[in-house]
Symmetry: C2
Subunit: 343 residues, 2 copies
């Protein structure tokens, strides 16, 4: 196997008897280089198989045209769509995407943040780990003018960009939908309050919707889960069905949970939606396929990814314009399907 060494601008310079600076400029159509030279250089570069070394360019400019993504896991449909949106947008502007999974561990998140910094990423998009309470490991970005965008699972108090949906409103809308379908005892699954604002907001929406319609908020009907998994969903649902007066509606803040509810109900002979109306969250592909189809709240993952990436890229161009670190709210919609349709 022959050993090519990488072709550099030095090689091109030598071949054409020009300075490397000229090559460098010619390759990016710098105005101070004559068209003749530009054409010649590009031609030769192609002939010689020149591929620029982004490491060198990055080192010199101390920026790498790289967007770092730090998320709990990529296998969740929401997150993989998010990444996809980021990657598509990044690609258009010639940015590269690097991905790291925290697996919801605070410790890993801290390590990986350092690793991203070490890679001199141009910007960071992050959805926080479940465990994370302290966010000081992100200061290294803020302090060094590296744009930082939190998505979906965002910290409550951090002055930076945030791309989210209005979880409160979404929770409210979901619950209201169930109420409109005639539900009187609506259950809700949620995460411990220590896990950031996301689930709390949805819960607030849930509670406000109940209150607004003069429905009692019963502690029995609110089940706190440790993890938002199918298994815990099943457990929670069984617990709910075992109540003296079981719920007639359920707002699950995730489609996997909604699926677990639908299936548990089926197993126990509880009819959906007649005896239990269910609405999920996220509009995962699965919600459209299971029977009955699950009503849900859209969660525009890819759009959020695109928005986040655009924020970074835009912000990199117009350096620190000190525009307030805005919060981008994307819209959600109630998708009514069979699992909640009573009327």
């Amino acid at each position: 196997m022959e050993e090519h060494r990488h072709v550099t601008i030095y090689d091109i310079a030598e071949r054409l008897n020009l300075a490397t600076s000229t090559i460098s400029r010619a390759l990016k159509d710098h105005h101070s280089i004559s068209d003749k030279t530009i054409k010649k250089v590009k031609q030769t570069a192609k002939e010689m198989g020149f591929v620029p070394n982004t490491l060198a360019a990055g080192l010199r400019g101390n920026k790498s045209r790289t967007i770092g993504i730090l998320i709990p896991t990529i296998t969740q449909p929401f997150l993989s769509s998010l990444i996809s949106g980021i990657e598509i947008t990044a690609q258009k502007s010639d940015y590269t995407v690097i991905i790291m999974q925290s697996h919801d561990s605070y410790e890993m998140e801290v390590d990986l943040a350092k690793s991203l910094y070490s890679n001199r990423v141009s910007g960071v998009i992050c959805s926080l780990a479940m465990e994370t309470k302290d966010t000081s490991h992100f200061h290294q970005f803020s302090n060094n003018n590296i744009p930082l965008v939190f998505v979906d699972r965002v910290p409550r108090d951090y002055d930076t960009f945030r791309v989210v949906i209005n979880n409160y409103l979404a929770g409210y809308k979901a619950t209201k939908h169930l109420i409109e379908q005639g539900c009187k005892r609506i259950a809700h699954l949620t995460a411990g309050s220590e896990f950031g604002t996301l689930y709390n907001e949805r819960k607030r929406g849930y509670m406000d919707a109940l209150a607004e319609h003069d429905l009692a908020i019963e502690d029995d009907l609110i089940v706190v889960l440790k993890h938002m998994t199918y298994e815990e969903g099943v457990k929670a649902c069984n617990q709910l069905f075992d109540l003296k007066t079981p719920p007639d509606g359920l707002f699950a803040p995730g489609d996997i949970l909604a699926v677990s509810a639908v299936q548990t109900a089926k197993k126990r002979g509880v009819k959906v939606p007649e005896e239990l109306a269910v609405i999920g969250f996220n509009d995962d592909p699965i919600s459209e396929i299971i029977e009955p189809n699950i009503s849900t709240i859209t969660h525009p993952a890819e759009k959020m990814g695109k928005a986040a990436a655009e924020l970074i890229i835009k912000n990199l161009k117009s350096v620190k314009e000190e525009d307030a670190k805005e919060i981008t709210f994307l819209n959600t919609q109630v998708v009514v399907r069979e699992s909640s349709k009573r009327i």
Copy 2:
């Protein structure tokens, strides 16, 4: 906002009155540096908030401790699990993962390959785009001793690492299972022959299983799809159901297709599995949730990702040992669920 400049080994060297070489070596426990110095350097580095610049290191050594992933899309469950496996393994060895989506376009794949090379990735893991026939854009890696591993959708004739399942055997097993359930007219969906070996192998297995059991291979029962999507699956199934003598079994080389079959059957009043036994492929989450549950063939995505990443990392250590570019076959299993259970 205060502007920190990045702390470098020069800063540490100055502070401690040592040479940068000493700092560099001390930070990686080089044997020629005294323990005292090492301790002192590490201590100071931490105090000053030093974070190594991987770009600089990469430039010098012409390797970036980065694994490039080039796949059609990350939103498919199989592929996102694959990435997850790669990322987990990479993280353990302190490698970074960069991701690019070809969206099944040959042109993009060529571009992105160049981009990966431009980033001086240490290794590449790729699952080919549907469109790709010519693979010469990967020569740049092979020619420069950059380990290249193809996964799942691999080229037929490229001397490099490949991590795959035995698609022939899997197709055979799937079909045989249907035969054992009493199916006599087994249909099969497949992709055009120009799309690499993957679907062809499954089809070969299908055909051999039929032949072995003295079942006729009928062209009518083999539907060639342009894309392996839900919509095309529905179309294909309708076409099959419209036959004078419709099939009584279906081997779909993907769970999404199997889902489309099950749902189309339901819509048309065809009973699954009684009138049509269905088996899918991949063991996507969805196959366990839809009703009836779909029998399927496991496709160990995460394991394949890990195997691929390990191949790269291992190969990077023991430089070009010229061990034949092995093919790693991972096992698959038939998972029998309701959609095909007749006996």
